[in-house]
Symmetry: C2
Subunit: 249 residues, 2 copies
C-alpha cells in the first residue's frame, strides 16, 4: 500500500491549549481513499521542528499532508519551513494572489504573506477561508500543506486534494465494517480472532474494550470485486468463530 | 525548560478508527507540571515504528511518555518494543505480578504478559485496570509506559507518575490564562500583540480564530512569586494594547 504521513503544526496543541481533531479526520479520509497512514507527528511552530517533521515523514511516506501554520500571523511558518526542508525557494504565486483576492473581495494587504509558495508548488483554492493550501510534487512524492482551521482543512481537502490523490496509482480499495459482538471480554474475542488473523494476514481486526466488545474490521484489496469477495469470506469465518450481535457494513 | 515527548501507540488511530484524546490530556498535564512538550508522535503497533518513536523522542526530550499497547492482546507490543529500542532485556517483575493479582483477584493467567518489564524498569500500579504502567530511568532520562484506555492512563498518571515527575529538577512554574477580547479579527489582535511578544519573549500568546477573538496566555517562571509578578505585568500591558472583555485566571 502507498504510505501517507500527517504532520500537525501547532504549539497550541503541544501546550494542551487546543485538542487536535484534524489528524483523526485526515487519517480516516486517507484510509478510505486507499492509503496506509504510517505516522502522525505534532510539532511546534518553529522552523527546525517542521523541517524535521517533513523530512522524516518523507523518509517513510509517499504522501505527506501538513495541517496548520498557513495563516498570516507571526507563528504561521509551515510553508517557508517546508520550502527550507526541501531546499526550495519561496515565490509569489499570482494564482494564489488571485485566490486570496477572490476571498477578501479586494486587493490583499497583510494576507499577501499567504501567496508565497515553494518553487514548483501549486496553490489550492480555499473555499472556506483566505489562505490557500499548497501542493508540491517532488522526487515522485506528494506534499500537501493545508490550513489548520478544521472547516478550511476539510474544504480544501474535499475540493482540491481528493482529485489529486485519486490520480496516484497503487492505492487500494478499502472497506471498514463495525461488528457488535455478544462477548464481554476483549481478551476472549482477541483469542478467538487468532485463526482469522493468521488466515487473513492483510485484514485489520481491532477489538475495542467496550461491553459488549466491539470490533472494527478493515479489508483492503486491489479491486472492488476482490474487496467484496474477501469481505464476504472474512464475515463468514467471523460468524463461525465469534458470537455476533450485529454487523454495520 | 525540561522537554517532554509523547508517543501514542495504536494502529487504530492511524486508520481513523479511534480519535486519540490521550495526547491532548497528557500535553495539558505535562505543561501544567512545568515541562515543555516538544513533540507528539503517533505510530502503529509494530516494533520498528515504536522503536523509532522512542529513540527519536529521546534525542530531543528528557521525559518520554508512551500511551497504548500495554494490554494482553497480540498487538500490544509497547513494552517489549521499548526494551528493544533501548537494548534492554525483559524480566518478569514480581511487583507487577502482585499488582496484577490485586486487580484480577487471583492468580494471573494470560494477564502475566503484562508483568514483564525492561531490566531496571519499575511497574506502576494501575488502579483502574489490570496492566501496570512501567517507569524506566535510563541515561539520566525518564521513560513512562502508560495504558491507552483513557481512564487507566489518567489513574496511573495521577497516582504514580506525577510524584516521580515532581522530583525532576529544572521544571518551571506555569500559569495559563484565557482572555476574551472585544476584537473580531484574529490578525488584528495578532498585530496588537507584537510589542508584547517582543517585550515578553518567554510568554506564549495564542490567538484563536473565534468571534470575538479569544487569547490563551501561558507564563512560565522559575519561582511562584516570579510567575505571579510576571503575569501581573503581562496583563497590565495587555489591557493597554487590546480591548479586553474578560480574563479567566
Amino acid at each position: 500500500m502507498i504510505k501517507a504521513a500527517i504532520v500537525v503544526v501547532g504549539s497550541e496543541i503541544l501546550r494542551g491549549v487546543v485538542q487536535d481533531t484534524n489528524s483523526h479526520w485526515l487519517a480516516s479520509r486517507l484510509t478510505e481513499l486507499g492509503f496506509e497512514v504510517a505516522r502522525i507527528v505534532v510539532v511546534p511552530d518553529d522552523y527546525e521542528s517542521v523541517e524535521w517533521a517533513v523530512r522524516s515523514s518523507l523518509e517513510i511516506a509517499d504522501v505527506v499532508v501538513t495541517t496548520g501554520g498557513l495563516g498570516f500571523t507571526e507563528d504561521d511558518i509551515t510553508v517557508p519551513a517546508v520550502a527550507r526542508a526541501l531546499g526550495l525557494e519561496l515565490q509569489l504565486s499570482q494564482e494564489a494572489v488571485e485566490y486570496i483576492r477572490r476571498r477578501v473581495g479586494g486587493e490583499p494587504t497583510y494576507q499577501l504573506k499567504a501567496a508565497y509558495v515553494p518553487k514548483g508548488g501549486k496553490p489550492l483554492y480555499n473555499p472556506a477561508g483566505v489562505s490557500p493550501g499548497v501542493y508540491l510534487r517532488i522526487c515522485g512524492k506528494h506534499v500537501f500543506m493545508l490550513p489548520g482551521v478544521p472547516i478550511e482543512l476539510k474544504a480544501v481537502f474535499e475540493n482540491e486534494v481528493v482529485q489529486i490523490l485519486e490520480t496516484i496509482p497503487g492505492r487500494r480499495h478499502v472497506k471498514r465494517v463495525e461488528v457488535l459482538t455478544l462477548h464481554e471480554k476483549e481478551a476472549e474475542v482477541d483469542h478467538l480472532l487468532k485463526p482469522l488473523r493468521e488466515k487473513f494476514k492483510n485484514v485489520y481486526f481491532k477489538t475495542h474494550a467496550s461491553k459488549p466488545v466491539k470490533l472494527s474490521i478493515i479489508v483492503v484489496a486491489s479491486t472492488q470485486s476482490e474487496l467484496e469477495s474477501l469481505m464476504g469470506k472474512v464475515l463468514e469465518d467471523l460468524k463461525q468463530s465469534i458470537r455476533v450481535q450485529s454487523i454495520e457494513l
